[in-house]
Symmetry: D2
Amino acid sequence: MIGYGFMGRAHSNAYKRLNDFFDVEHRPVLKVVAARNQQKAKAFADQWGYERIESDWRSVVAADDIDLIDIVAPNYLHRDIAIAAAEAGKMVLCEKPLAMNVSEAEEMTDAVEKAGVPNMVWFNYRRVPAIALAKQVVDEGRIGRPFHYRATYLQDWTIAEDVPQGGAALWRLDLKEAGSGVTGDLLAHSIDTAMWLNGPITRVTAKTETFIKERIHAETGELQPVGIDDACMFLAEFANGSLGTFESTRYARGRKNFNTFELNGADGSVYFDLEEPQYLQYFEYLQKQSGQKIEDHLTGWRKIHVSNFEHPYMDRYWVPGTTIGYEHTFLNALADFVIGLETGKPVQPDFRNALQTQRVCDSVLESARTGEWRETGVEV
Amino acid sequence: MIGYGFMGRAHSNAYKRLNDFFDVEHRPVLKVVAARNQQKAKAFADQWGYERIESDWRSVVAADDIDLIDIVAPNYLHRDIAIAAAEAGKMVLCEKPLAMNVSEAEEMTDAVEKAGVPNMVWFNYRRVPAIALAKQVVDEGRIGRPFHYRATYLQDWTIAEDVPQGGAALWRLDLKEAGSGVTGDLLAHSIDTAMWLNGPITRVTAKTETFIKERIHAETGELQPVGIDDACMFLAEFANGSLGTFESTRYARGRKNFNTFELNGADGSVYFDLEEPQYLQYFEYLQKQSGQKIEDHLTGWRKIHVSNFEHPYMDRYWVPGTTIGYEHTFLNALADFVIGLETGKPVQPDFRNALQTQRVCDSVLESARTGEWRETGVEV
Amino acid sequence: MIGYGFMGRAHSNAYKRLNDFFDVEHRPVLKVVAARNQQKAKAFADQWGYERIESDWRSVVAADDIDLIDIVAPNYLHRDIAIAAAEAGKMVLCEKPLAMNVSEAEEMTDAVEKAGVPNMVWFNYRRVPAIALAKQVVDEGRIGRPFHYRATYLQDWTIAEDVPQGGAALWRLDLKEAGSGVTGDLLAHSIDTAMWLNGPITRVTAKTETFIKERIHAETGELQPVGIDDACMFLAEFANGSLGTFESTRYARGRKNFNTFELNGADGSVYFDLEEPQYLQYFEYLQKQSGQKIEDHLTGWRKIHVSNFEHPYMDRYWVPGTTIGYEHTFLNALADFVIGLETGKPVQPDFRNALQTQRVCDSVLESARTGEWRETGVEV
Amino acid sequence: MIGYGFMGRAHSNAYKRLNDFFDVEHRPVLKVVAARNQQKAKAFADQWGYERIESDWRSVVAADDIDLIDIVAPNYLHRDIAIAAAEAGKMVLCEKPLAMNVSEAEEMTDAVEKAGVPNMVWFNYRRVPAIALAKQVVDEGRIGRPFHYRATYLQDWTIAEDVPQGGAALWRLDLKEAGSGVTGDLLAHSIDTAMWLNGPITRVTAKTETFIKERIHAETGELQPVGIDDACMFLAEFANGSLGTFESTRYARGRKNFNTFELNGADGSVYFDLEEPQYLQYFEYLQKQSGQKIEDHLTGWRKIHVSNFEHPYMDRYWVPGTTIGYEHTFLNALADFVIGLETGKPVQPDFRNALQTQRVCDSVLESARTGEWRETGVEV
């Protein structure tokens, strides 16, 4: 584990829970945490039961007793760690966004493919059961010809002007460490989900904004210009001919984790909201569905409580009607990765897949800079 | 029109709107308003376009130019007016509850049946399109064997101790004029809907409460004991073997017009809430419904926006997606009454039907007094 | 009344209901309906009680007994009728969108201003009580510095390929008569509401799409190319520095009348959905609001049932907890117009105000054609 | 751990997660699982990491290396195990309902109190953060004089006639092993929550029903009469003068885990639904609350997303906007128990507290048998 903090906790929890809930042969052993701050690394390792800590990630990559490198360090470190890990023949799991930009992401993808090491990017929301159910609904052909996709990822935690930026806890607000603001942090999720459900995004036009222009640095106390995008919105064309709208911000008062999407097709629609992760909303056009029988008086949005044994992942947990939490999305992702190892069918999204999301992110930022529509270059 | 006030307005509006929205031959003419307070009656008649006013309802009943008597006077007057109107050969429409008690209701029913005059009781909520759709769903056999019915009718407008009681505006809070509190005013609606959807209620056990023991009289200013039930709750057995819970109050802070019901059967369920009258919620058990095809992963409560042309009454109004208001339930009821006249198929609920609801109300109040289960005597 | 049909009904209803619900001195008299199809005009006039019909709108404009011209004819006729009516010194009410384009809208605005005649454009949704309450919340300063505005207006009624276009019933689908598709029909509403609540929109970038390329003409049966925009989405900058996303379509399966907006500010947010018109959702940032007292554990989106006597327009109708319908938005608009006449404070939106919305619509369509950001030219 | 199965998993998970999320000194060690079926016990112990298994619970109670006995065996075994464990000086945690009846519960309470051993009953729903927040809202005096409490606990999993009863997996459907049906299994939760929030229940009148009269035994295949209550509903009086309605069933089609409650007081109300465990709905009567300032136009039910650091338990988990799952209620309960040990302030509900709930359950069943109101005997 390279890095710790919030994502470090979420990943560690996944490793420790894997064999409680999934029948797989691999049994993760928590070996080492590497981080600059040795005191915090120590506390973290003690809390979660890692065997040792290291100050330099390079020694972890080089260690013989390590089979898998999990990267939860700030984004600017992803490239170097991933490439070194791949070259050392380790499996590599990397937090999203994959990289600072497409160029890095390409290098990283080349490295893991050349080394032939198993790899995955933690787009954990694909493992929300309701989102996995949405994918199943799409794959079952229930949506029909797609017309529209719309996604938002809204939060409100940086509205106050006195929120600092930078440092170990708030590197996501520091352009140099994060690479971008909401585009990489939040929209990357929206884009990954969108392309998983609705295929490649081919063109975009975007607008970004930084509402608060200066913030204090969390550690130095210096007033600095804010470099990241506080908000980003874009219009998109999908390869399948449908249209998309995307918006993300940390300035939507009252929205905590409002990661929503809606896909509208000729035969049906789905809607999801991460603040109510136990539900998938589904609209089925009954005339189509029931053939001869017209039941227009019964059409309506159906709120599916995704907690039956028939639902994705839910047979691993409790009983119908009970919910799982945020952390289980990481556990499900890890389980899928391990099952991929054991079955020989590598899990998605791997680095190559995440590279496509990176292409869209870069195109969005470029469009925001130039004010023009951009081709994304995503493989169709 | 005998009486005025809130219900007088709602009924008058229905008469004036009938021919704008329904293709019927009858064209209502607003002739006369009778009320004790001549000044208010005059203002009311001017506002709504009645031709004249009267101080004594007896002269209206006797008038040759009157074909139909609509009773919106306080409950204690229903009996005398209805019987006199029937004896005079007039059609009689009566606000709910039909009477102060079963004995009066029986007399009234006898009178209209003996006179052979068309009659209806204004249980207007049957004409909410979503409730009419619930009835259609039941009649289509989609619920299966019924197990449970639960209803609430919650309001919060009498919580403050300084709300006065009695007088022209607040006779509903005066036991002598109203006969009961929430039981006759609110639960009567719940009971009418319940028996319409789920058949006769045969046994009940009940509890009533008066939270505020004394109130000022609205006109005299005198402090008086409160005689009505502020709240009433009861358990019920239906003739079809299902169980019911009913509750009504004017002390549920935050509930304005929370008239809800839910019916659970082996094959499906419906839920309704009058604060969201445009929706019927419907749960369809898909394994049953779709025969061979098991689609358990798609089951969920469906929120039907009851605004399609296929929905009850909605072809008379605007376009799909638009809603109608509270007042249209009276208009729909009147239209059904007139269509009943013109087709020779009398509308329901007539006096005899409303007498059954009165039986349940009386049994509930009697059970609350005695603490024992009571047979309702409703015809099965 | 020039024209009839759906909007003709909604407006006629408003004229007939005005004095039942509002205490104003003016008493509308329904004089004449003008329409090409004399048979339909006759049926319409009979249904609603108009005194006579005319085949040529010019004779209505010229008639001495007419004080007010209400234009519900197809959009391509708005300009000529409005200008002629203004020149004849009549009051002019016009359905939205005001015109086929900015140039026409400017001519019309000049005409009514030069003639000094009272005028209004029927952006009826401003008169939904919950939207009027949103305006009140904004005006009370409860939102704080605005960051984001997002609006959708989604429907699904033209998905089927065999929906015809054109003719008396479906002129909205015919480019020559409507001027545009969803942009003028639906987005014009969204833009009007947005600028009412959040001020001028200054720049836009847009994308439109026509999903079904050919349709049968409703009257001739000929297969024709579809000229209108089936869907339109755009990004916007507001003069106050906030960002906007807008989207409209008739291809969002399951969305009937999904006219939604959300405004996020530093201190609070509001959300509205026309499918649930009785609610305004409001998020109040309590730390700010309650001063010393921090009550972060109680923050949440508040679903305000806009049916209290304190709410806009609701003291004119029934009792708390009851809802009004779609048609009352027209009645409220008419009442505001008449109150404007009687108080000497002209109602908004008048032609000049609606001209601003037209500027945004034209800019959106132009941006969609060119792929570039456009200045709207709206007065700031 | 005496017993295994569903609750065994939930408890085991709690023990294993305790030190990951809570800073307590105790570190649970999973020693032994006792169960009749050795094969299943072995699989369970392997899955969760228990050191050994036993076939007889008595040997566990007698073992020197065991400090705490956790009882998840069928209800009919609770009494003997708990008393033996207490006499052996072990801490005792017991699944709900505490016992088969009040008599057993009294014996058990006496035993743990006499032995002076720490004890707790797993009414885990008190540890749902939103329910704990409801308790906080009540304790802060925000509800005012209470008028009404209503609770439902609805499920639908036994509707099919071919669901078997009895045996290791389905002992909850077997009267001899469970003691009652929904009353002990589901209503016990509702009653515990109700008395925690709203004080003692003093009188009840109840009705139970068994819809399916005969079922196959899960292990023997024999057709047997069904002894348990499939459904139970009752009316209640609280010591504080408020009224209650309670209903539970496994025959409410579409309701999976519909454990809801609502408390209405003069100043505010709260509502909760376990199918949406991340929300507490709260209605605040603003006139009262804000003193001078009347803000009736802003009142509404507030949907609190209980995921802020300020919310009960949520500072132990992830970030605002993320949810926890069903299993965490057990973890929170265990943490509270351990914190109680470490701070010397014993956790609630202990056996004595759970005995009160047992009194209500017994009174409900007795009332259902006799058809009469019953005093519960709960200490006031």
